[in-house]
Structures are given as structure tokens and as C-alpha cells.
């Protein structure tokens, strides 16, 4: 694939509340609206546990970060969360220096991201449980 050949987005349901959104290519202010629309649609469909699979993403800047952070907030407001799968050095640096590694639950791959959401879900249920008692 040639550099700049736009962004490619694929979403895949894991269960009725969980989905994986795979974002490949380059994510900048030109291609970001496509991702924003896809993620908004996902959350509106009730997928409040979202894995953002960026393992095939080659470029990311503050516009893409803004969309990921915004989606993470939406998910959390709805009782879910978002986890980013990413192992590319130049992208990890962007998460790191923007201080978004924790808020976006950045881990190395989709498996780890799914596991991370599982943990968060359990912690969440436990919290709700505590609240209920």
C-alpha cells in the first residue's frame, strides 16, 4: 500500500456491547472525520466497549488523538471504555508525549486490548456491586 492512500476502517462486533474498530493507513485532519463517524455510529449502536486497533496505522497526530479521547469519554459516560492496540514506535511516542497512554488504555495488540477491557468491565461491575450493597 502506498503512503497516503487514505485511511481504511473496518469494524467487527465481538459481542452486543463490544466491538473492534481497525484503523489502517494514515489518520490526519483529512481522514479523521471518517473515523469519527464510524466510532460515533458504533457507540450509538450500544458498543460501549471499544477496541481501537491501530496496529496497521502508520500516522497519527492531535486530530486523531482528539477523536480517540472523545470516544473514550463517550464510552465511559455510557458505562464502557476504550482501549487502543498499537505497537508502532512513532505512534507510541505520540501517545506518550501527549499524556494519553493511560486515558486511552494503550496496549500492544488487540488481544491485550480486549483483555484490558475485560478487566475494566469486571472492575466496573465490582464498583457497581459495591455501590449496590
Amino acid at each position: 500500500m502506498q503512503e497516503g492512500e487514505t485511511v481504511r476502517i473496518q469494524t467487527r462486533d465481538v459481542d452486543d456491547r463490544t466491538a473492534v474498530c481497525r484503523v489502517a493507513g494514515e489518520l490526519d485532519a483529512y481522514t479523521a472525520p471518517e473515523l469519527r463517524d464510524a466510532l460515533v455510529a458504533l457507540v450509538e449502536l450500544g458498543k460501549i466497549w471499544v477496541v481501537a486497533d491501530l496496529t496497521e496505522l502508520t500516522y497519527l497526530d492531535s486530530t486523531g488523538l482528539g477523536i480517540l479521547v472523545g470516544t473514550a469519554k463517550q464510552c465511559r459516560q455510557a458505562g464502557g471504555d476504550l482501549s487502543v492496540a498499537c505497537a508502532r514506535r512513532n505512534l507510541l511516542k505520540i501517545f506518550q508525549i501527549s499524556g494519553t497512554q493511560e486515558i486511552l488504555n494503550v496496549v500492544a495488540d488487540v488481544e491485550a486490548a480486549t483483555a484490558r477491557l475485560g478487566e475494566l468491565c469486571e472492575a466496573h461491575s465490582a464498583d457497581s456491586g459495591e455501590e449496590a450493597t
Binding site: 482528539g66 512513532n90 508525549i97
Partner: protein, 144 residues
């Protein structure tokens, strides 16, 4: 190579998101000629794109005609470093406001763009004033 082959590339791009790619590709090309590493080039691409995205998002009032919304880029190579200037003739702003917006970070409105530019380059400077356009000057040193 950096020292012998000093040179400057100038560009004028439409201030629209679809041309950010062209700014990044030009940064790659000049960066290779400045002997930057692949990692340094990736960093500089983001820094340049952030400055250009700011022009697109903030520089122009609705009154400015599309044809006049342009981004001026100047990339020069020499002395073992690459310098990029990103300039617009838009509304400008008071750089003192930056500190405030930076503190807001991701939770407030913005500040992230300039934060990334600063972290991803070796030298970073903003020249701007309300009503007189903006110029961002960034330097990346060749580390190999």
C-alpha cells in the same frame, strides 16, 4: 551531506486538510536529504502537520476567500539540521495565550498541537500577533 548540500524548498499549499499529505511527503523528502533518521522524520512530519492543521483550523475568518487561505512552508537543509517554517497571513494570536491553553491540555480546548510540536522538534518558536499572521519555526537536528 547536510553541510555541503544546503538548500531551501519553498511551498505554498491550499489551507485545506487534503493537502496535509503533501506537506508530510515534502517533509519526508527534505528530511532524507538532511540526513535525518527515519524516526526523526516521522516526528517532524507530525510537528509540521500540527502547524499546518492549526492554519487550517484557526488562521482564517469566514470572510477570507478560499483562494487566499494558504499555508506557506519553507524547509531548509544545512549544518546538520533541517529547519521548517510554517507561515500564514491569517488572524494571528497572542502567543502568551498559549501557556494558558497548554495547561488545559486535552481536557480543555486545545493546546495539544503546540505541545506536540515542542516535544517533537529540537527548537520550536512561534511568532504571531493578533491581526498579523503566524509563523512557526521548527528545527530538527540530524542525530546520525
Amino acid at each position: 551531506m547536510g553541510e555541503r548540500d544546503a538548500g531551501t524548498v519553498k511551498m505554498v499549499l491550499p489551507g485545506r486538510p487534503e493537502f496535509l499529505l503533501v506537506a508530510r511527503l515534502a517533509t519526508s523528502g527534505v528530511g532524507l536529504r538532511a540526513d535525518l533518521t527515519v524516526d526523526d522524520i516521522e516526528d517532524l512530519k507530525v510537528a509540521v502537520a500540527e502547524a499546518c492543521t492549526n492554519v487550517i483550523n484557526h488562521a482564517f475568518d469566514d470572510s477570507v476567500k478560499a483562494a487566499d487561505r494558504v499555508i506557506k512552508l519553507r524547509m531548509s537543509v544545512g549544518n546538520g539540521e533541517m529547519t521548517v517554517e510554517v507561515e500564514d497571513e491569517g488572524r494571528g494570536f497572542d502567543p502568551k495565550e498559549l501557556e494558558r491553553s497548554k495547561r488545559n491540555g486535552l481536557d480543555g480546548k486545545g493546546g495539544l498541537g503546540f505541545g506536540l510540536m515542542q516535544e517533537l522538534t529540537d527548537t520550536f518558536r512561534v511568532e504571531s500577533a493578533p491581526g498579523s499572521g503566524t509563523r512557526v519555526i521548527m528545527v530538527k537536528r540530524a542525530t546520525r
